[in-house]
Symmetry: C2
Subunit: 136 residues, 2 copies
C-alpha cells in the first residue's frame, strides 16, 4: 500500500509554536456533538490570552450544543503539492461571553458571512497540541 | 461588531455538489470522541462509492475510538483574500474494512506521513451537507 519512495515525517509542535500558528489564521473548525453525534463546522475566530473567540447566532445548533461543553477546535495549513503542512488542536471548554465583558473589541472575530452572530463564545483550552508534517 | 460594508453570502450545496467537491481534495478532518471529549485530526482520504476511506495505525487513539461509532468528516477550501470558500460535512458510521476486501486498490488513500497505517476505515454517510460562502 505504500508505493512512494519519499514520504513526510511528522513532528510534534510545542504549545508555544501552536499559539503562534493559531494567531496566523482566520478560519478554524469547531467540533461538538449534537443528538446525532459529532459535527464539524468552520468558523472565523480570534485569539485572546490563549483562548479562542468566535461568534455564532444564539439560535444556531452550535449555540444550543456548545454551552459549557468540552469541544475541539482545529486549525491547519495543507500544501497538496509538497504533501506537507501543520495542524493545531485545541481541546477545551466553551463558555458564553456576556456582552460588554470578557473580550476587547479589537480581538473580536469578524465572521465573513452576512447575518447576525451576536453570541460570543470563548474556548478556554485544557490542552493545545500540534503537528508539523515535513515533506519527504 | 459588523464593521464591514460587504460580507459574504452562504448558500447550501446539494449532496451531488458535495460529492464532487469531496472528490477534489486529499486532506479532510475527522472528528470523534475519546474519554475527554471531541478530537479533530487531519487525514488523507479517498472517496469510493460515496463513502470515505482513510487509513490509520491499529494502535492509534483514533482506531481505538472510531470502530462502529458515529463520526464527522469535514473537507473545506478557504480563500483568506476574498473571504470566501466552501465546506462539506459528512456524518456517518466508521467501520473497519477487512484486508483484501471492501475497497479497490486504486481507491486506497495514501497517507502523506511515514509510518505503518494498515488499518483501513470506511465512513458510510448518513448525511452529507455543505455550504458555499460567496464573497461579498
Amino acid at each position: 500500500m505504500d508505493d512512494r519512495w519519499f514520504r513526510g515525517t511528522l513532528h510534534e509542535l510545542s504549545p508555544e509554536e501552536c499559539l503562534v500558528l493559531l494567531a496566523d489564521k482566520q478560519v478554524g473548525r469547531m467540533a461538538y456533538s449534537d443528538e446525532a453525534g459529532p459535527v464539524i463546522l468552520p468558523v472565523n475566530y480570534a485569539v485572546e490570552n490563549q483562548s479562542i473567540l468566535f461568534r455564532t447566532s444564539a439560535a444556531s445548533s452550535m449555540a444550543m450544543h456548545l454551552r459549557d461543553r468540552t469541544v475541539a477546535f482545529e486549525v491547519d495549513d495543507v500544501d497538496e503539492v509538497t504533501e506537507s503542512g501543520w495542524s493545531v488542536l485545541v481541546r477545551g471548554t466553551a463558555t458564553f461571553v456576556q456582552p460588554a465583558g470578557g473580550a476587547d473589541d479589537h480581538t473580536l472575530p469578524t465572521p465573513w458571512p452576512q447575518g447576525s452572530r451576536n453570541l460570543l463564545i470563548r474556548i478556554t483550552p485544557h490542552l493545545v497540541t500540534g503537528r508539523r508534517l515535513l515533506a519527504g
